[in-house]
Symmetry: C2
Subunit: 182 residues, 2 copies
């Protein structure tokens, strides 16, 4: 059993390379120091002209976690998550909205995902399909949107943390790489 | 002087927490193994339904790096970068385009930025203001767009890698955090 609040130490590339989505969670809470570090990882992220156009809304109440499953057909595992973090931004779909709103929030999300992974905590990004229902549940104002959330939790099967990569899980580099010009 | 292709080892949280934007670069190339790892960091990123809607276009030719400065008023430092990586995606501004195109490419970018940082390589995200000119320079098809690029290079001043954070550089956590509901 681990006793320090931050026991795991994973090098950056190892975290990037070993990361996988976790959708089955142990019945084990994320501690306050762990959650704090994960949230700070988003807070620390860079953003276009340092605008930091994000709020973070953390849900840990079990009934509310269950309610969240109504907003995402591929998000039923939120009901078992230790926490869900909604990344709330200004409306990214307004005609004059900067793409950086969404790009920056993706960068902040990846900071959280990798920071969680180092702590042995798995995560799964959730795409929101029912934004009106989500606003009802979470109560943010009409000016704001939360197109993406992260479900977080210790993996039900800790072996996932060291599992080999699935062959064919990603395109090969030469399929996506261009040198100098297209 | 370092001899191994991958000498640096930085724990994930330390990379997230210490990362800063680097806009002044040493006249020192990024090695092939280093570049390969950085590109693979993007390739490894998760994406909505594993669609991997990204191509990576790497520019290292000095004349082309100079030309890239024409597309971004805040990107003059690209002329001195060791490499610029354009993240090319399907058009994210089409009315029915998924926000995940942009969100996922932000996640991939953050993987690259952190992986580079572990190697002692700095980076700076570039917002593209002249997309038509960028397409002329890089030659990708009209179906594709590259709203964001990363400039990469060893810092002119290596002390930046261990510099303390600028006070007030980010909002405090309690300014952006909401528990359970807004």
């Amino acid at each position: 059993m681990r006793h320090s609040p931050y026991p795991a130490r994973v090098e950056t590339w190892a975290a990037v390379d070993s990361l996988r989505v976790v959708r089955e969670y142990a019945d084990r809470p994320i501690t306050e120091p762990e959650l704090h570090r994960i949230l700070n990882a988003a807070r620390r992220a860079g953003s276009s002209r340092n605008k930091q156009r994000w709020d973070l809304l953390v849900v840990r109440d079990r009934a509310r976690l269950r309610a969240l499953t109504e907003v995402a057909p591929y998000g039923t595992h939120m009901a078992q998550a230790a926490a869900v973090i909604a990344i709330v931004t200004p409306d990214p779909r307004l005609p004059d909205a900067s793409l950086a709103i969404t790009w920056d929030s993706g960068r902040a999300a990846q900071n959280m995902v990798l920071t969680a992974w180092e702590l042995g905590i798995g995560s799964c990004p959730i795409t929101v399909y029912e934004p009106d229902r989500l606003r009802e549940i979470l109560g943010y104002p009409p000016t704001h949107h939360a197109p993406f959330m992260l479900a977080l939790g210790y993996p039900a099967d800790p072996k996932v943390l060291e599992q080999p990569k699935r062959p064919g899980g990603r395109k090969e580099l030469d399929e996506i790489l261009h040198q100098e010009t297209w």
